[in-house]
């Protein structure tokens, strides 16, 4: 399924559970969606950099399992945006369900 436009929100949601590096974020999204949400991992990092530029996440380098990683964590601003995005997404989901004639 195409993730266009929703990847930043999914990244924020994964980081709600705690700090993570890029590879773990990618695997987490795939695992949580049981493989339904597929995306090319090369597009993950531009999205991470953009979120960092917006101040929604911040990063620092750490050594994990002998490899230097850039680990990302959610900021307070990112948390606020995530709450708002989730609310908006649920509202849209209800509307789509109503149009499709399915009970939510």
């Amino acid at each position: 399924m195409n993730l266009k436009g929703t990847l930043p929100t999914l990244i924020l949601q994964v980081l709600l559970s705690g700090p993570a590096h890029g590879y773990r974020i990618a695997q987490d999204i795939k695992a949580r969606s049981k493989g339904v949400l597929e995306f090319k991992e090369g597009t993950l990092y531009p999205a991470l950099h953009e979120l960092e530029n917006q101040g929604l996440i911040r990063s620092e380098e750490r050594t994990i399992n002998g490899r230097v990683r850039r680990e990302y964590r959610l900021t307070d601003e990112g948390h606020k945006v995530l709450v708002a995005e989730r609310k908006e997404f649920r509202r849209m989901l209800r509307a789509v369900s109503a149009v499709l004639g399915e009970s939510s």
Binding site: Y23, A26, G42, Y45, R67, V68, R69
Partner: protein, 232 residues
């Protein structure tokens, strides 16, 4: 790094980071190399040979050109970095400025506006002004080419629209050059250079203004902390 690089990941990275400044390339490489190695490490226990695992890991990264478009939206390019670095080296400027301050102070538009205004103020006849303006334009063409002159072309190319970049450049240069024609006609009708000065200045400045606006738009998305910690 060159095109003969043996490592397929290096080739992917080279394509994905083409045109970015060195610090951005280093950051992306340091970040994505462990990602790629993790992916290969996870694929190998599934019974895949090393080269097969590498191939699949690369496929999972996707199209390098698509990644490059994303990276160029969120990181400084080499041209933009050079522009800011050149500014930071100017004597007497405070080193730590916000992205907006950098862009305004580095603005060829503002600097040129002042210079052309000076020329216009001291020029009583059209011919002297015309020559002086072209000398100024020539002088500015060097830093413009080095820093921002190529941006109207470079930006659309960066976003995968090369024809648009060329069209924009041709349009603005044509606009600047064609400004001479009505000026000559007006002069032939006896209009004073006092009227011609602002008309010509307007056309000359338009292209520079567009260059600056493009850079300003980009800088507005990059936080001050990111700009000031980069090794200019």
């Amino acid at each position: 790094m060159n095109h003969r690089t043996a490592d397929p990941f290096d080739r992917w990275l080279e394509a994905a980071t083409a045109g970015l400044c060195a610090s951005a390339v280093a950051r992306i490489r340091d970040e994505m190399r462990p990602h790629y190695e993790d992916a290969v490490d996870h694929l190998e226990p599934e019974g895949l040979a090393r080269d097969e695992a590498e191939k699949i890991a690369l496929q999972q990264l996707g199209d390098a050109r698509k990644a490059r478009r994303g990276f160029k939206r969120s990181n400084l390019t080499a041209v933009e970095h050079r522009k800011l670095a050149g500014l930071a080296k100017l004597p007497g400027l405070p080193f730590r400025l916000s992205g907006w301050s950098y862009a305004v102070l580095a603005s060829p538009f503002l600097i040129s506006l002042v210079l052309v205004a000076i020329v216009g103020a001291f020029s009583d006849d059209f011919q002297a002004f015309y020559i002086a303006t072209f000398i100024l334009a020539g002088l500015f063409s060097i830093p413009l080419i080095l820093y921002t002159g190529l941006m109207p072309i470079a930006l659309p190319i960066r976003y995968g629209r090369p024809r648009l970049g060329i069209a924009i450049s041709v349009f603005f240069w044509t606009l600047c050059l064609s400004a001479s024609i009505p000026m000559v006609l007006l002069k032939a009708r006896g209009v004073s250079s006092g009227v011609l000065v602002p008309i010509y200045s307007l056309f000359l400045m338009l292209r520079m203004l567009v260059c600056d606006l493009i850079l300003l738009r980009k800088l507005a998305r990059i936080p001050t902390t990111e700009l000031t910690k980069r090794p200019f």
